[in-house]
């Protein structure tokens, strides 16, 4: 079972090269072009928000970057490697983590086990059946660290399905962190959250961006303009603007296409 071994890409020094970059990325579904020639860069220390109406191609973009969906054309580069043809598990092990718009936790498992399982993916010797998973210190340590980062340390023993909606969204992020990613692709982490939960999540994102490159797809515009260093606006699969928040706010084209006259 050699294929279960870890393939962690050697970090390479590339002066001026962003950690994750897409180049003319395109995805077609039959006659429909969901994403067209999207070239974006994501760097550590930055929250790069991608906004746009439903159907603008944001989730498709995340799906292509995470490897869940192949690109029709264009390329993706991560840490000096062309990863366009890499499978999703290989990208995940190399350091590209994602969360889902719809919560995808394992509801019957404990909160800790949700994270421990994700942390286990990178460990060698998965076939060692005589070792108990629940006593696997290597994955437990990473899982506890991820839970602490996401503010869920006190809920470790709870059954994941009993968490509040906000708690489940936090767990979703913690599971992503448990894979020790360097890039976080977050698909609407604030969806359905109350004001207090939103504040907690924004504080978490602000802490995470120090060590991660963060792609944030989000509909909550107030939150996006508060936290993002860079905002990309997509309309019908194309990027119409990509700039700092202040510049995006005053961009006439964006106002017409998306933000509305009142903004």
């Amino acid at each position: 079972m050699a294929e279960l071994q870890v393939h962690v890409a050697e970090p390479q020094a590339h002066a001026g090269e962003p950690l994750l970059r897409s180049n003319l990325l395109t995805r077609r579904f039959g006659g429909l072009t969901a994403v067209h020639n999207v070239s974006l860069a994501f760097e550590v220390g930055e929250v790069h928000a991608v906004i746009g109406t439903n159907g603008a191609g944001k989730s498709t973009l995340i799906n292509m970057l995470s490897g869940e969906m192949p690109a029709s054309s264009g390329s993706i580069h991560f840490d000096g490697h062309d990863i366009t043809d890499w499978s999703q598990p290989r990208r995940a092990l190399a350091g590209i983590g994602r969360s889902y718009q719809r919560t995808t936790i394992f509801p019957a498992f404990s909160v800790l086990e949700n994270c421990r399982l994700c942390a286990q993916a990178a460990l060698p010797r998965a076939w060692a059946v005589w070792q108990s998973a629940q006593r696997c210190e290597a994955s437990l340590a990473v899982a506890r660290e991820a839970l602490a980062s996401a503010g869920l340390a006190d809920d470790a023993a709870r059954v994941a399905g009993t968490l509040s909606h906000g708690g489940k969204r936090q767990l979703e992020i913690a599971m992503c962190l448990a894979t020790r990613p360097r890039v976080l692709l977050l698909d609407e982490p604030l969806a359905g959250m109350g004001a207090e939960e939103t504040e907690r999540m924004l504080a978490l994102l602000a802490a995470l961006k120090r060590q991660h490159a963060v792609l944030l797809v989000e509909h909550d515009m107030d939150a996006v303009f508060r936290i993002a260093e860079r905002i990309t606006v997509m309309v019908n699969g194309e990027v119409i603007a990509s700039d700092a928040p202040a510049a995006i706010r005053s961009n006439r084209q964006v106002q017409l296409a998306y933000l509305g006259e009142g903004h």
Binding site: L4, A92, G97, F109, A121, A126, A128, W130, A133
Partner: protein, 320 residues
């Protein structure tokens, strides 16, 4: 209470049973234990990994046929190579079927596993390879000899009984180990949400294939035991009826637990024995498929979690 106490007590009780059993009931216990091994092997796929296979009898039948055909007419073969050969052959076919069928999911997976099992069935049914539709006899049962001393002779009832019991304990213990290991937890994760597991970095195809091959090898072990117990094999061992029967066993017992698979094998075999008994049921015995089918429908309707869920029901929902 430790989770292993009940299975260990059950094994000890089974080991003591021959002292008080009639030859008929001892034979019945052996038969149930063989089917319990078979049901446990499918439980790894259906209950643990979430892969509903409707072709599991193929590996059972191949294990049984290899046992008979590799023995041939050269006298008793050594179980030391015959058993591994039977399991390896079943595992090999499982690797082939799994490699192809695991590229599909859901109802397509069910259909593809069924198709590959039917293929194997017709190979034995329609060619002279394994004696055609009549099957073949196992003239000499396997032995284990060491320096001229016979340590194990599966032609002798007590030897067979304890060999089958050992196989059941081995299978149960192996699967219990797998379920508590990282590998088993990954399989459980794949059952709940395979996409999430891939996003976390698991190459899920490899995990599923490994589970499929292990399940195939254990079904081959059950096939070996059945061939030795019955002293004959026929193509019906590979039929989809057999695949369906073993699936019914784990549904009847309760999907998702090893105990459920064993309880299901006990219940299914006993019910079948009861409904086939002319002494008890007279002419109704010839319609045993009808009575067995109706009983299973009633069980599934009343106990959706299987017989294993009965305890929770009796104790009240608070303990569920």
């Amino acid at each position: 209470m430790k989770p292993w106490i009940v299975p260990v007590l059950a094994a000890v009780a089974l080991a003591a049973l021959p002292a008080v059993l009639t030859p008929y009931t001892q034979d019945l216990v052996v038969k149930i234990a063989v089917f319990a091994v078979f049901a446990l092997s499918l439980e790894l796929l259906v209950g643990t990994t979430g892969l509903v296979s409707l072709g599991h009898a193929a590996f059972f039948g191949i294990g049984a046929y290899v046992t008979v055909m590799a023995t041939g007419d050269r006298g008793a073969a050594s179980a030391l190579w015959l058993l591994p050969a039977a399991m390896a052959a079943a595992a090999l076919y499982a690797a082939f079927v799994g490699a192809l069928s695991l590229r599909t999911t859901g109802v397509y997976f069910i259909m593809v596993t069924l198709a590959f099992a039917q293929m194997a069935y017709f190979v034995f049914h329609d060619t002279k390879l394994g004696g055609g539709s009549d099957g073949i006899f196992l003239y000499s049962k396997p032995v284990i000899e060491l320096g001229g001393t016979v340590l194990l002779d599966l032609d002798r009832k007590p030897h067979l009984y304890y060999a089958v019991l050992a196989a059941l304990v081995f299978t149960y213990a192996l699967l219990a180990l797998i379920r508590r290991s990282r590998f088993g937890h990954a399989l459980a994760g794949i059952r709940v949400n395979e996409q999430r597991m891939r996003a976390a970095g698991f190459r899920t195809y490899g995990y599923k294939l490994a589970a499929f091959v292990i399940a195939g090898a254990l079904a081959g072990l059950a096939g070996f035991l059945l061939a030795v117990k019955d002293g004959a094999v026929n193509p019906e061992l590979l039929s989809w009826h057999e695949s369906g029967a073993v699936l019914l066993m784990i549904i009847l017992g309760g999907i998702g637990s090893l105990r459920g698979a064993v309880i299901g094998a006990v219940a299914f075999t006993l019910l079948k024995e009861l409904y086939q008994s002319e002494a008890l049921l007279g002419t109704l015995a010839s319609h045993w498929q009808l009575t067995l089918g109706l009983t299973i429908i009633a069980f599934v309707a009343l106990l959706p979690k299987g017989l294993i869920g009965l305890k929770a029901r009796l104790w009240g929902s608070a303990h569920g």
